[in-house]
């Protein structure tokens, strides 16, 4: 940036400006401290409620017990986490490939989009839990079953966002490309795909969370059929055995995974867009 930034402290500030600086500093600290404090308070309250009401551990375990279980059952739980993660990432990968691939196909012609977009919508709006029995009949392989399920849940936001992005290119830039004799491929590669990037990344952020949900839900409805024992299976199993601490531990692992996926994709989005897109720019002034 070429803008001149006055060094903090060297310029005497008027009261209004000083107030603004103070407020900004407070906000920066509060952004982290407040949610953390509320979280700690909630956990403490959870613990107190267990103690005050003498709730048995198989109904609601104390937080400390859950953490202990996370440690003692680590081998079991993290093994299952890996199984769930594998399905999640594979389905996210397929959702990206399928979503972007279909979007590019749709962008080739209005007719293709008009013809096939309704199918994508139908696939999206039909609850996956209701469709799963069918998948269960037609697909034998357990992994394929779960993947298909998670994919159906995750691909739509990528498809719809990328389609929107590919179609929202500045008309003048399209004219410029035509003027310079650009081929369809050049127009796609040098213009439409980069222009769709922010939209795609927005869809990816949603799809990341959805593929985890898809993976867990798929495993739930698929049932604990032995070999594939992801975190969902652990939860069901723990439920049957009234092993509430392990159930909670598994639950915490799942939501923690979701948070990590979201943060990672947010970071990716920021890194890709930081040099040019409005959404990634730090507010100045």
């Amino acid at each position: 940036m070429t803008a001149i930034e006055p060094q903090a402290g060297t310029v005497p500030l008027d009261p209004e400006e000083a107030r603004r600086v103070r407020a900004a500093r407070l906000e920066r600290i509060g952004k982290w401290v407040l949610p953390l404090a509320i979280m700690v308070l909630a956990v403490w309250l959870w613990d107190r409620i267990c103690v005050w009401n003498e709730i048995p551990r198989y109904i609601l375990p104390r937080p400390g017990e859950v953490v202990a279980t996370l440690y003692t059952d680590a081998g079991l739980l993290f093994g299952s986490l890996l199984v769930t993660l594998r399905i999640t990432f594979l389905s996210l990968l397929l959702a990206v490939a399928g979503g972007v691939g279909l979007a590019v196909l749709f962008a080739q012609s209005k007719w293709v989009e008009m013809s096939f977009f309704p199918f994508a919508v139908i696939l999206q709006v039909t609850p996956i839990v209701a469709v799963f029995p069918l998948i269960n009949i037609y697909v034998d392989n357990q992994t394929a079953k779960l993947l298909l399920c998670a994919w159906i849940v995750a691909f739509f936001p990528i498809l719809s966002n990328t389609t929107l992005g590919l179609n929202s290119v500045d008309r003048n830039l399209i004219d410029l490309f035509r003027l310079n004799g650009a081929t369809r491929w050049q127009e796609l590669w040098h213009l439409r795909l980069p222009a769709a990037m922010p939209y795609f990344l927005g869809g990816l952020k949603i799809a990341g969370g959805l593929s985890l949900i898809g993976a867990v839900v798929a495993e739930f409805v698929a049932g604990t059929s032995g070999q594939s024992s992801g975190l969902a299976s652990r939860i069901i199993e723990a439920g049957y055995r009234l092993n509430a601490p392990r159930l909670f531990a598994a639950l915490i692992l799942i939501s923690f995974t979701g948070i990590v996926i979201f943060l990672a994709l947010t970071l990716v989005s920021h890194l890709v867009l930081r040099r040019w897109h409005e959404s990634a720019l730090r507010q100045e002034r």
Partner: protein
């Protein structure tokens, strides 16, 4: 009267001058019944700086798009003298229309890149063009880091990097503040004199058209058509001294009068636009 003006114009621009392009009876109608252009006959000579001046709706942008080949005329035809290839045309839009994800350098590279010229091979031409529009040192800047005037400079560099014979400009400086606009006008004239390309410049500013062009084509609306041609005899180079000269003021007044007649004729006097 009209013929008379034409004769004067072609004489002023030099009898032996070769023409680059002729529009013969060009018309454009849209499916909604609007006639954007009717019976446009216009010859653009090599090295001309022609301004298309007129109120909104007079079809000046449509004419530019037809010349660029972005739009096909409903009637009439375009006649390129000595053949025409796509690479003969550079286009500068009203907005800078840069790729926001690409640096200044890569934006200027774009027309060459689309022609299959590698970055290494294109580098001398790109650097020279960036230098010509006074943006040396900003090669790696992203468009969002530039001011409106600088973005427009990039856009001009991009339009000229292929060394086109004809540069089409569609109200390129309309959105800029006056100081920036004056500066860009001066720099554009300098470029035009050095490189000897032809310019067709769409504007609704009398002052801009008089300052820049050797020919002004005043257009009227509803339907869009050529109303009259004015030749601006003031010698080049034109600089700030010309901008403040009595000659310039007189030319502006005369052109304003012609534009006023064109607006009255087109019924645009009551139009808010």
């Amino acid at each position: 009267m009209l013929q008379e003006m034409r004769a004067v114009a072609s004489e002023a621009s030099g009898g032996d001058q070769k023409s680059l392009l002729t529009l013969r009876d060009v018309g454009k109608s849209f499916s909604n019944g609007v006639t954007a252009l009717r019976n446009v006959d216009l010859t653009i000579g090599q090295g001309d700086f022609v301004s298309l001046l007129g109120p909104s709706g007079c079809g000046k942008s449509t004419a530019l798009r037809i010349i660029a080949g972005l739009s096909t005329p409903t009637t009439g035809m375009l006649d390129w003298h000595g053949g025409q290839g796509r690479s003969d045309i550079g286009f500068v839009f009203q907005e800078p229309t840069l790729l926001p994800w690409a640096s200044v350098f890569d934006n200027v590279w774009l027309p060459l890149r689309l022609r299959g010229v590698s970055r290494e091979k294109a580098t001398p031409a790109i650097r020279e063009m960036i230098d010509r529009v006074h943006l040396s040192g900003f090669e790696d800047a992203m468009p969002r880091e530039l001011s409106g005037g600088m973005k427009m400079r990039v856009s001009i560099a991009r339009g000229l990097v292929t060394k086109p014979r004809l540069l089409l400009m569609d109200e390129p400086f309309a959105a800029l503040d006056e100081i920036t606009r004056f500066k860009l006008n001066n720099d554009l004239l300098e470029l035009w004199q050095d490189e000897r390309f032809t310019v067709v410049f769409v504007t609704h500013s009398v002052f801009e058209s008089v300052f820049l062009s050797n020919r002004i084509v005043v257009m009227a609306a509803r339907p869009g058509r050529v109303f009259r041609e004015i030749s601006v005899d003031a010698p080049y180079p034109r600089d700030e001294a010309f901008r403040t000269s009595p000659d310039y003021a007189t030319l502006c007044r005369e052109t304003s009068q012609v534009l006023g007649e064109a607006i009255t004729l087109g019924g645009g006097a009551h139009d808010g636009h």
